[in-house]
């Protein structure tokens, strides 16, 4: 499985990468610190798209949802090929609601990512 992690916090990126690799060392993890960088990556790797995107909600200049909007406008076909999980330390119910309403979002995951939850989701 190929994972794309998008988070402005490098610590969270590191922690999440370790957790994913701990589930299976065969997993491939790509880390991007902002939405625009991730879009650039996806466009460049449209033939080897990640299976899963773990997307942080709160990021400067472009939030997780803004990323989805931008990608929907630019490359909706790409977006449709991936499972997107919103990830946040937020306990704001509005974020949960927006995640559920967004058709491209599979689920909302709370930080820190837990191994057991990831195993259930990505079997």
């Amino acid at each position: 499985m190929k994972y794309l992690l998008i988070d402005d916090n490098p610590i969270d990126l590191l922690v999440n990468e370790k957790v994913i690799l701990n589930i299976s060392s065969s997993n491939e993890v790509i880390k991007k610190q902002s939405g625009p960088e991730a879009i650039d990556y996806l466009k460049e790797n449209r033939n080897s798209l990640p299976d899963v995107i773990l997307l942080d909600i709160k990021m400067p200049l472009m939030s997780g949802f803004e990323f989805l909007e931008a990608l929907e406008h630019q490359e909706v076909s790409l977006l449709k090929k991936m499972r997107v999980y919103m990830v946040s330390s937020s306990i704001d119910p509005l974020d949960l609601q927006r995640s559920e309403e967004n058709p491209f979002v599979s689920s909302f995951l709370e930080k820190p990512l837990r191994k057991s939850i990831l195993e259930d989701e990505f079997k």
């Binding site: 402005d8 610590i11 330390s89």
Partner: protein
């Protein structure tokens, strides 16, 4: 006198006595009869002048003494007369008619008597008396013979003539009499004249026979059974020998008689009129002595002046016993007529029969044959008319006075002064009803003591006496003789007559007018009429006064309400003219327009020109029944900005009909202010809530973010045994904790800025910066950054805590976004004073900020960098703090080159600095 034997005898006696010439000379000389005395030789002894005249007519002799009488006679007459004379000389008295022929051949007849005159037993003289009998003979002959000429005259003469014989039987009548009487001659012939007479004076016929020239009036009957004719008859006796005739000439005086009767009738009527006239008439001679007076005058003289009229009395005798009159006025007018000969008219008050009487007097001069001979005086009693006029005048005076009266008491005094005082009464008063009693309110006469004062209280129970019973029944009463009225009881003097009139409102008696006179039968219909009218007017006025009083009270209350509100009220009529307004409206318009409003002003002139069109529109809407409300902002030179709410409300009358518009002006400045304040506060609150939401969300996220990071790292630590790896994780944990710590500090700063009061104290900037730099020393990349300081103002008065937040955030920001790729990384801090400001500049050569992000830079939780190192709260706090100090912040930046922040803070004034800036 020929046939008067007495005269002849006397004359004879006189002649016998030899005194013929002495005693009767005068008679003989003047009589138209012949007297001749002859001696025995028939020579004239005496001839009177008439005899001498006759002698001349018969011959050329005039019968002087010694002439022969027979010489004047013609032959035939001499022959006839001589035997008679001779016979007389023998002592025989002879008489007869002698026909003579005159000088001019005319035939004359003399009726004669020859009387012998004896002397010593012998006839020695003769008296010849003779009269010219020619006419009688002439007529006689024609009456008998029906001589044509005479007959024609007889028949055609206009006078009615009837001829009677000695036994007074009709012998002949002429044509005129036939016409007068309607009888034919044959019907009357042989009829006694007395049968024709219907009325005549006694001895009428004898008078006609014997009294020469006597006329007698009588009424004759005519052929018509009902007919009668008034005639004036004159008679003439005719002797012819043995026969005597009475010729009666009749003048028809029927017409004259009729006129006379009419005249007499009208004279009778006139005198009856004059005597029974209600006018008083008398006349005086030029010495002012009574000549005549009519019955009315004589009666009034007696009754009022106790004077018995007597012609010849002087006018002053009239006033001898009682002189209650304006004698001077009377006398001056009498004298004026005597002096000028012109009529005089005047009027005065008299006291006839002891009561007020008003008379008008006319004095007219009497002229007899062009000379002033007296004065006729005509007095008319016009008391009723005068009273009526006077009372009507009084009534109209009263009405006009009542019109302006506002109190009932004044009204009652107006009745008293204008009406009751003019009735010539001993006593008059007004009593008003209270419960079952009547109380005196005003009076004129014995009970009045001053302008508006009465001398004693008087109360009468309703139903008691005349006054009380009028109050009980509501019907006016006149008592002509109070002594005979059982209801009467003496109030204050023994009244003669009384009138009581109720004052009613509707059917309810509220008072009475009571008038009393000491005379019986004093009150007339006019009094009742006037007093009832007065009572009516009074009651209407009282009703009006009471209603007005109530209305005024209501109005006062309304006005008090209107004037006690802080709002201006104006009432406009349908033509947009000001009908009424309250004090506030007056003041408001005065303040805004500098104009004092008055009733009748046009609304459009009262408002600001820019509002006219709009307000007229609202006015018309209101006039059609809608309530309109408009809010306007006005600038006033003294009061500044003001908000006015103007309400246009339809003004309705009792019938719910809109007749105008009420305009209510409300100064809503205060409520508008608070409304605006609330709006502002709401806006603030909304913003605060929004911020709070965002804040809570962000805070929860930013606070939890490091926690969740640490929790994740903790999981990683659990998965490894490698100590180096664990140490690495430990560094990450510290980094996260630092982030959290910094965030918590920021939150504290934020909280402090918004809650803590300003506190100015002496600040040393260098010390401050030293502390801040120490705090930032552990930040990533700090050690490679050169800090430059240019502090030109080191010590100044400032809120130290806030100044620290400002500088700290500026440095923190510059450090966070340094550009690690640059070789000479630096931050320069400059602090200078410009006028009353301290200016802080922090400039770096860091990453710079995109231009499009500059405007959002100071909003909360905004970060302009993709790889943000902060929560985005620092610059927000910076801005807020600068604002709190009433300072300004500006930023200029160029991407890749660097950023410069300039903060300008006002320096507090030395004195009372805390208060000035604390007031925010």
């Amino acid at each position: 006198m020929v046939n008067n034997p007495v005269f002849s005898e006397d004359l004879r006696q006189l002649i016998k006595a030899g005194n013929v010439m002495t005693g009767l000379e005068d008679i003989l000389e003047s009589v138209e009869k012949i007297f001749v005395v002859l001696d025995a030789n028939l020579q004239v002894l005496y001839a009177n002048p008439y005899a001498m005249d006759v002698g001349e007519r018969l011959s050329d002799k005039n019968l002087v003494k010694g002439d022969q009488l027979l010489d004047i006679l013609n032959n035939e007459a001499r022959l006839n007369f001589t035997p008679k004379l001779n016979s007389a000389l023998k002592g025989i008295e002879e008489s007869g008619i002698l026909k003579c022929e005159g000088m001019n051949g005319q035939c004359l007849y003399f009726k004669y008597t020859i009387s012998p005159i004896y002397t010593h037993g012998r006839v020695n003289a003769l008296l010849v008396e003779a009269k010219d009998y020619s006419n009688q003979i002439f007529v006689e002959q024609h009456i008998k013979t029906g001589n044509n000429l005479m007959d024609v005259i007889f028949k055609t003469v206009e006078s009615s003539i009837i001829i009677l014989d000695e036994t007074a039987k009709v012998v002949r009548i002429n044509e005129a009499f036939k016409n007068l009487s309607g009888f034919t001659e044959n019907e009357l012939l042989g009829i006694s004249f007395s049968d024709l007479i219907m009325e005549c004076e006694e001895g009428c016929l004898e008078k006609l026979k014997y009294e020469a020239g006597c006329q007698s009036e009588c009424i004759l009957r005519t052929n018509d059974p009902d007919g009668r004719v008034y005639v004036r008859a004159s008679g003439k006796m005719l002797n012819s020998g043995e026969e005597e005739f009475l010729i009666i000439s009749l003048e028809d005086i029927s017409h004259q008689k009729k006129l006379e009767n009419e005249l007499r009738f009208s004279r009778d009527r006139l005198s009856s009129l004059v005597d029974n006239l209600s006018l008083y008439l008398w006349s005086l001679d030029t010495d002012l002595r009574f000549v005549i007076a009519n019955n009315a005058a004589i009666k009034i003289f007696k009754k009022s002046f106790d004077y018995d009229f007597e012609p010849g009395d002087h006018i002053l005798d009239l006033y001898h016993k009682r002189s209650q009159t304006d004698l001077e006025l009377w006398m001056s007018n009498y004298n004026s007529v005597l002096e000028t000969g012109e009529s005089r008219y005047f009027e005065l008050a008299e006291n006839f029969y002891g009561r007020f009487t008003h008379i008008t007097v006319e004095l007219h001069p009497i002229h007899t044959k062009g000379k002033l001979s007296g004065i006729s005086c005509l007095v008319r009693n016009d008391t009723n008319k005068y009273l009526k006029n006077q009372l009507n005048q009084a009534l109209s005076n009263f009405k006009s006075r009542a019109l302006n009266t506002t109190s009932i008491n004044d009204l009652l005094w107006a009745v008293t002064d204008e009406i009751l005082a003019h009735l010539h009464l001993e006593d008059a008063m007004i009593l008003m009803k209270k419960e079952d009693m009547l109380h005196i309110k005003t009076a004129h006469g014995s009970k009045r003591v001053g302008h508006k004062r009465i001398n004693s209280p008087l109360s009468i129970r309703v139903g008691k006496g005349v006054t009380g019973s009028v109050a009980a029944t509501g019907k006016s009463a006149i008592v002509n003789d109070t002594s005979s009225d059982p209801r009467y009881f003496e109030v204050h003097f023994s009244a003669g007559s009384e009138i009581v009139v109720p004052i009613k409102v509707g059917n309810e008696v509220i008072g009475v007018i009571n008038c009393e006179s000491s005379h019986e039968n004093f009150f007339k219909d006019i009094h009742l009429e006037i007093l009832e009218e007065v009572a009516h007017v009074t009651s209407e006025k009282i009703t009006q006064i009471v209603a007005e009083r109530r209305l005024r009270k209501v109005e006062e209350l309304n006005r008090a309400v209107l004037n006690s509100t802080p709002n201006g009220y104006m009432l406009l009529n349908a033509s947009m003219q000001l009908e009424s307004f309250n004090r506030i409206a007056f003041k408001s318009i005065l303040n805004f327009k500098g104009e004092e409003i008055t009733k009748g002003m046009d609304f459009r002139t009262l408002i600001m020109p820019e509002f006219i069109d709009e307000f007229v529109l609202y006015f018309n809407e209101a006039l059609s029944g809608k309530l309109m409300r408009v809010e306007k902002e006005l600038m006033h030179s003294r009061f500044g900005r003001l908000w006015f709410t103007t309400t246009f409300a339809p003004a309705v009358n009792r019938h719910q009909k809109v007749f105008g518009v009420t305009i209510i002006m409300e100064n809503t400045s205060k409520s508008k202010e608070s409304e605006n304040l609330i709006l502002l506060q709401n806006e603030d609150l909304r913003k605060a809530n929004q911020e709070l939401d965002k804040f809570v969300y962000s805070v929860s996220h930013d606070l939890r973010s490091p926690v969740s990071s640490v929790m994740g790292i903790n999981t990683l630590i659990g998965m490894t045994e490698d100590l180096d790896e664990i140490k690495q994780y430990n560094d990450l944990i510290r980094e996260s904790m630092q982030r959290m710590d910094s965030f918590i500090h920021n939150i504290l700063d934020y909280s402090r800025n918004s809650r803590v009061e300003l506190k100015f104290e002496e600040a040393n900037v260098n010390e401050l910066i030293d502390g801040i730099l120490l705090d930032h020393s552990h930040m990533e990349g700090y050690k490679s950054i050169r800090i430059k300081r240019n502090i030109q103002l080191e010590n100044f008065l400032m809120d130290k805590q806030r100044l620290s937040i400002i500088i700290s955030n500026l440095i923190s920001n510059a450090v966070k976004y340094h550009d690690p790729d640059k070789r000479d990384q630096h931050i320069s801090i400059t602090l200078v004073r410009e006028d009353d400001y301290v200016v802080i500049k922090v400039q770096d050569n860091g990453q710079g900020i995109r231009e499009e992000h500059l405007s959002k830079l100071f909003t909360m939780f905004f970060t302009a960098n993709l790889r943000a190192k902060g929560s985005g709260i620092g610059l927000y706090i910076l801005k807020e703090t600068v604002d709190a100090l009433k300072g300004e912040i500006s930023v200029s930046s160029e991407l890749g080159k660097g950023t410069e922040f300039i903060v300008k803070l006002p320096l507090p004034k030395a004195e009372n600095n805390n208060e000035v800036l604390a007031d925010r």
